[in-house]
Amino acid sequence: MSDVYKKFEEKLPGRVIEELKVEAKASKLTDAETTKALNDAVKEYEALLISPGESIGIVTAESFGEAGTQMTLDVFHLAGVAEIQVTRGLPRLIELFDARKIPSTPSMSVYLKSEHTKNEKSIRKVASFLKEMRLEEVSEEFTLNIMNESVEVDLDNKRIKDFGFKKEEILETIKKDLKNASVKETKKGFTLKPESEEINLSILYKLKESAKSTLLRGVPKIIQVLPTKKDGKYVILCAGSNLKKVLEMEQVEGKFTVSNNIFEVASTLGIEAARQAIMNEAVSVIENQGLDIDIRHVMFLADMMTQTGIVRGITRGGISGEKESVLARASFETPINHLITASLTGEKDNLKSVIENVMVNQPIPLGTGLPGLISKIGEKKEKKK
């Protein structure tokens, strides 16, 4: 039975064969019938393949370019509904394909394990653990006491209670975090005294600033959390992204949790995940704008950006800067730099791609300009026979 399929393993993708196997079993096909079905499948599959010499790069560029002109910069807002602001539309698409290190609005969708999604209260609890909470947010005032050479911190008792802290807890974390200062509890809060020999104003000021930003709870960089229900599932939308730390939390369901920071995804989950993340982000922008761009164009771009194992943007520092041809690079951006380096290293342009050939007015090796080469190989083979 499996012999029948073996022949086709190279002609068809594994998934198609698996599907056919299931179908053939269900319809109880004979080997001959299965072969016929497989042959038909091969025919269909080959008809869908892109033919040699098809200029997929330009077609992808035009597919994005045409739709891009219709993109609006407007952000759709619902009055009175809590939202997390995310860059969408053309600006997002640009930063995505340019592979900017940090997106203009980093965000995450955090999914939780089922035991934590029983009711809204438990979700809110997890959400409060996610959001970064710094000393600044539960304090009333920070003052520099120059006479005592110390920093006085007044805590806001109401807020401490609201966020479910205890004063002792806070003091504990402060003691742990600020190792070069001694902490003394006072009526209103506490005072910090630097433990250095020489004390001047700038040391006090630095102590004040580092005290302000002491992390009391939560994941660093997560600035805002918003628990919502999406497609029947509870999600915590976060402004700010820290995939690694969030995935380490035991309440979080790692399978579904996503970040929109491609580089973070690449460093925590690997390059394949980054490829998928690029695709998901691009598709979400396209859908959000009500446009229709074939997924294969997005896949092509994501493949190009990740094929070397690192995320590279379509910029002069990324993919476009690594083209083989000097003339092609020079025609994209910063022509002078490329010509200078080419002359210094003695580069040679083999005129293999499109733009170079347009420049020298030769047929481009694409479409009707390509088959000459193919038929030549065929002739040789025939002669050998």
């Binding site: 010499g53 560029a61 002359s343 020298v360 007015n361 030769q362 481009i364 090796p365 009707t368």
Partner: protein, 600 residues
């Protein structure tokens, strides 16, 4: 303490800014301080800025004191009697001009009934929020602002009687409309502006329908009968001029009929319209290449020897002739001198322009379109009363643009035309839709403005009723006759050997970056090459050194000057622009070589 700046320069401080501001303002109103001075207090910066410079946009407002407008009934009466003028109101402190900075400190009431104790000023009229052109759009409060802006912009492009002394002027690109009319649906601005004196546009009978698809995508269909009766007919004037310039060495241009031996002499036929003085006679009918003003110039580059040895033969012809596709009648000739005292001859060509397919028309509501078809009168749809429309307008142009004002003008124009009166549809002060409908019924028409129409080709009654009425339409200055252009072969640029740009020079139509991408995307490789063949050249490349060889056309052979006669030199086809690029790179001191490979 508030810092005071006079024309952006610090001049001092004052303790009580309100007292200071009030003093300045009241003294300005009394005429002690110049009226053109404005003062503004910036709350955020806590600064007072006094401005007396020119170039500030200022607008007049009525002053309000303690909740009372300073402009009284008495002023109105005196103004009507013409015993006082605008300047008197300014002097009296009834009106003052406010600039943008001072405006920040004011509270302006739109209407007198809105005035409270807090108000400092009163708008002279609510329509002052609109400009002159925008005020010319009727029912403008019924349209969206973007269309209103577009409508007022289109009016600036309308052809009419742009100035009454046009016969004595030599404007470039000037047109005069033959039968300008006063719009039936007007606004107050048409009276203020004396629109009759320089009217543009005509009242047309419009039908909102489609007709054989020739009015899709904003095109309009015109009735050829109406066009033949003078609809949208204009006269186009084009000036030409020639100066007798003086050059160094006492040489100068000469206006006159050039000698036959002259360098660059055209055919005798081209000069046939010139009189003995070398200037074309008035009312001459000219065609392409005909000379308007005959002129000869001294040679362009004189060697030091030739300067003293001037032969008549070295002069060249430099006449002013009609360009490609131009024709017309000589309207008038002006003989004057320019600022340097050189003799200046100017002539003006006149052309009658009858609307043709592609000419641009627009209503005053931002609804513009080009003529898609001219239909003979007999083939125009007609109503049950026997009227045929002048223009057929597509209904698809309405919903997405929401130009309700356009539709309202159709009804009001209809009412005005039938009742024999002008309808004042000033912004915020126009007759209501219901009153217009009522008047239509009284005039014996359907209240919704629709009428039964018949198919002119079959005589069948149309199933749908057609919305029809009268609307004011403008012919815009963009005419096909000025823009039609195509080229098969022609002039090329000296530097790049590519076709020149522009219609006037008979230039090529550019296949740009994006057009190139389309051909690449289709894989049309050889078509793409052929498109870019405009500057192709055959160059001889030395296969030893990779540099361009010198081609000797007498001996019909190419020799590499670097490697000598033995080096193999092969002809290569490439674009001249690329050769230029290689040359430019070489001029930077970078050696660029061309390496050749056998094609087969």
């Amino acid at each position: 303490m508030v810092d005071i700046f006079l024309n952006e320069k610090f001049v001092g401080t004052v303790a009580n800014q309100n007292e200071f501001l009030n003093t300045i303002k009241s003294q300005r109103r009394e005429g002690i301080i110049p009226e053109k001075l404005n003062v503004g207090y910036d709350h955020e910066l806590n600064e007072i800025h006094i401005e007396t410079t020119k170039g500030r946009a200022r607008r007049p407002l009525i002053i309000v004191k303690d909740g009372n407008s300073q402009f009284t009934e008495e002023h109105l009466k005196k103004l009507k009697e013409k015993t006082i003028s605008w300047d008197d109101l300014l002097k009296e402190g009834v009106i003052e001009y406010i600039d943008s900075r001072e405006e920040e400190n004011t509270l302006v009431a739109l209407e007198e009934k809105d005035v409270t104790k807090d108000h400092t000023h009163l708008e002279i009229s609510p329509i002052t929020i609109l400009g002159v052109c925008t005020s010319l759009v009727p029912f403008s409060n019924f349209g969206s602002s973007s269309r209103l802006i577009r409508g007022s912009k289109l009016q600036k492009q309308g052809l009419g009687v742009y100035t009454q002394n046009y016969l004595l002027r030599l404007d470039t690109d000037a047109s005069i409309l033959h039968y300008p009319q006063r719009p039936i649906t007007k606004t107050f601005m048409h009276d203020v502006f004396k629109y009759d004196a320089h009217a543009m546009g005509q009242n047309l009978t419009i039908a909102v329908m489609s007709y054989q698809g020739y009015n899709m995508q904003d095109a309009v269909i015109l009735n050829r009968g109406s066009v033949e009766r003078g609809l949208g007919r204009t006269t186009y004037f084009k000036p030409f001029s020639a100066t007798e310039l003086r050059y160094s060495g006492g040489l100068m241009d000469q206006i006159g009929i050039p000698d036959k031996e002259m360098k660059g002499y055209r055919s005798e036929r081209d000069y046939r319209n010139l009189e003995d003085d070398g200037i074309v006679f008035t009312e001459a009918r000219l065609k392409q290449d005909d000379v308007l003003i005959g002129k000869t110039s001294p040679p362009r580059f004189l060697g030091s020897l030739e300067e003293f040895n001037i032969d008549a033969n070295t002069r060249r012809e430099s006449s002013i002739a009609l360009g490609e596709g131009m024709h017309g009648i000589v309207d008038m000739t002006f003989l004057t001198e320019n600022e340097e005292g050189n003799r200046l001859v100017q002539t003006r060509l006149r052309q009658q322009r009858i609307p043709e397919i592609g000419d641009k028309f627009a209503s005053r509501h931002g609804q513009k379109g080009v003529i898609g078809l001219l239909v003979p009168h007999v083939d125009m749809p007609f109503s049950s009363r026997g009227t045929t429309p002048d223009i057929i307008f597509s209904p698809h142009s309405i919903p997405s643009r929401m130009t309700v004002s356009h539709l309202l003008e159709v009804i009001s124009g209809k009412v005005g035309a039938l009742a024999g009166e002008y309808i004042d549809a000033t912004t915020f002060d126009s007759p209501s839709e219901s009153s217009l409908r009522k008047q239509l019924v009284n005039l014996g028409f359907s209240e919704d403005g629709k009428e039964t129409f018949y198919n002119p080709l079959t005589g069948e009654r149309m199933e749908a009723k057609i919305y029809t009425g009268n609307i004011f339409y403008l012919k815009l200055k963009h005419m096909v006759a000025n823009k039609l252009h195509a080229r098969a072969a022609g002039r090329i640029q000296l530097l790049t050997r590519q076709p020149v740009e522009g219609r006037a020079m008979g230039g090529g139509l550019r296949v740009g970056e994006m057009e190139k991408d389309c051909l690449v995307a289709h894989g049309a490789s050889l078509l793409l090459k052929e498109r870019f063949d405009s500057d192709k050249t055959v160059l001889h490349v030395c296969e030893t050194c990779g540099m361009f060889a010198t081609y000797d056309s007498y001996k019909n052979q190419a020799i590499c000057t670097r490697c000598g006669g033995d080096a193999k030199v092969s002809p290569v086809e490439m674009s001249y622009a690329f050769k230029l690029l290689l040359d430019e790179i070489r001029s930077l001191g970078i050696d660029s070589k061309v390496e050749l490979k056998e094609k087969f």
